[in-house]
């Protein structure tokens, strides 16, 4: 393994991505450490989703290396250790919540008593326990988002990658989801999430600011604010963005 940093759960080294002549990611390098919440902050179209898809191997990078838990990606059996929640809810709406959960749990190799137990646990976590037998088509947008999150937690992944996890979720629920994310990191789970919302970004342990496929800065939210002598994260983002362009 070329990965020198034992602490890194994710190590991204000089990753470039282009679609033909259009370059969407420019020389991205960053490290994500164990049990932290790492936020990727940027406007839509900045390359956030492309970056997280490259992390798990759903997109091919044009150059550079990605290591997860010391293993060069993409690697199929590493997906067993990653929970991924995409921007779209990606649920089978004609099935019930339970049937959706059973399906994805089986894909992760969960079976029998353990599977049933995990389903109960994740549904309790996202506060949907009483809607277990309901058809997903009847779920509200927020409920679908929570079910989608529950599915990504089923196999107790060491690394959780969430693409815009709290879009369309009401503030109270958002708060409870953040509490759950915190309790997951307390158990040693590493979380990477993308967001375009500043106040959500502030809750992350560390942030990578991304704009037009370029990583502008990586640090804790407070450090980013202090370094740019700004009063808010938004100002800091504008500051970094301004220097580069």
């Amino acid at each position: 393994m070329i990965n020198n940093d034992d602490q890194s759960v994710i190590s991204v080294q000089h990753v470039n991505k282009d679609y033909g002549s259009k370059q969407v990611l420019h020389d991205i390098s960053l490290n994500v450490f164990k049990a932290e919440i790492f936020g990727i902050l940027g406007p839509s179209g900045s390359g956030k989703t492309t970056l997280v898809k490259i992390l798990i191997g759903m997109e091919q990078r044009s150059s550079g290396d990605v290591y997860i838990l010391g293993t060069l990606m993409p690697k199929l059996n590493m997906l067993q250790q990653i929970g991924y929640m995409a921007q779209s809810d990606a649920l089978y709406t004609e099935l019930t919540a339970l049937e959706n959960l059973e399906f994805f749990a089986s894909l992760y190799g969960l079976r029998g008593q353990h599977r049933a137990q995990r389903i109960q646990e994740v549904m309790k976590l996202v506060n949907l326990k009483e809607h277990l037998y309901k058809q997903v088509g009847q779920y509200s947008g927020g409920m679908k988002r929570r079910l989608s999150l529950a599915i990504s937690l089923l196999h107790e992944p060491a690394l959780l990658i969430l693409d815009e996890p709290t879009v369309g979720i009401d503030p109270i629920l958002r708060q409870s989801i953040w509490r759950e994310l915190r309790s997951l990191t307390a158990k040693g789970t590493t979380i990477v999430l993308t967001t375009h919302v500043m106040d959500e970004a502030e809750k992350c342990d560390r942030l990578g600011m991304i704009r037009d496929g370029e990583l502008l800065a990586v640090d804790s939210p407070q450090a980013l604010i202090d370094a740019t002598q700004s009063s808010t994260l938004e100002e800091a983002f504008i500051h970094y963005g301004g220097i580069r362009s």
């Binding site: 798990i56 191997g57 759903m58 091919q60 993409p74 690697k75 199929l76 059996n77 997906l79 067993q80 990653i82 991924y84 995409a86 921007q87 779209s88 809810d89 990606a90 649920l91 089978y92 709406t93 004609e94 099935l95 049937e99 059973e102 399906f103 994805f104 089986s106 894909l107 992760y108 190799g109 079976r111 058809q135 599915i151």
Partner: protein, 342 residues
Amino acid sequence: MRIGAMILRILRQFIHDKRTMALMFIAPLIVLSLMSLVFSGKEYHPNIGVVSQTSSLSTVMEKLGAKVLIYTSDTLATQALDNRDIDALITLKDNMPQVLIEGSDPSINKSVQLLLEKSMNQVSTTQVQLKPEISYLHGSLDMAVIDRFGPIMIGVFIFFFVFLIAGISFLRERTTGTLERLLSTPIKRWEIVIGYVGGFGIFTLIQALLISFFSIKVLGIMMVGNFGYVLLITILLSMTALTLGMLLSAFASNELQMMQFIPLIIVPQIFLSGLLPLNTLPMWLQKIGYVMPIYYAADAMIDVMIRGKGWSHISTDMYILLLFSLIFSTLNILALRKHRTM
């Protein structure tokens, strides 16, 4: 385990989607019933085989548009008849013509009979009144057109519905993001394809059972062969339809675009499946039929249901259908590389 989960999920989706289930199971029965009521014929010049000297009759028949082929022995001629190289065989017994009609296509039977009638009239004026003795190698005089259409239409329906429903459900998997989610789990690409084949396989088995049973028992379509072979043919055909539907769904961005494959993929196959006499078509058009799955299924269905043939006659058709499914499945597994390279 994962394949099992895929199969179970697909079955559950079907059970929840009553309308699609009804479409798969009931719609073919309604259309088949309609087809058994509605039909119109078509002009066709038959091929006639002769063994002994029947020169006066031959010339008359040739003058009426038929093609007359002369065989050196009875065995060769009967074989040609069974291979459908000729539509009827005329031999002379005690100076009386004996006619053996191949019989698996009622429209051809009719044109053979018409030809006989006309030519006998012309010959009879010069000699004594001739009354040919007619018998059938397969089928019978009272075989209806639906008996010929039935086996082909069973294949057409199964192909049509499986192609469309499999294609659309895989398309939805792509557009709703569930395919992406599937691919973010450790499932292998081939497991997805095999899971689909398995899940749909079970449903098409039920569909094939129902359609075949309804056609044979309720509509009374002629069936002299083994029912097991009918099921085998329909299953292999539906596997081809499924894998082709999945593959082509990659080229559609919504359900409507999937529907647009109907005139492109389904309709030409119906026309070249043997529903209409292929011999009347130009050669290049007949050749196109060789790349169409329904053509092979229809050929095998007629062999089993009308001609009562067994495995040795349908095996080539079956291997070709299997080959189609294998090729399409492999292409599907490769096509999924677009979404995940592992």
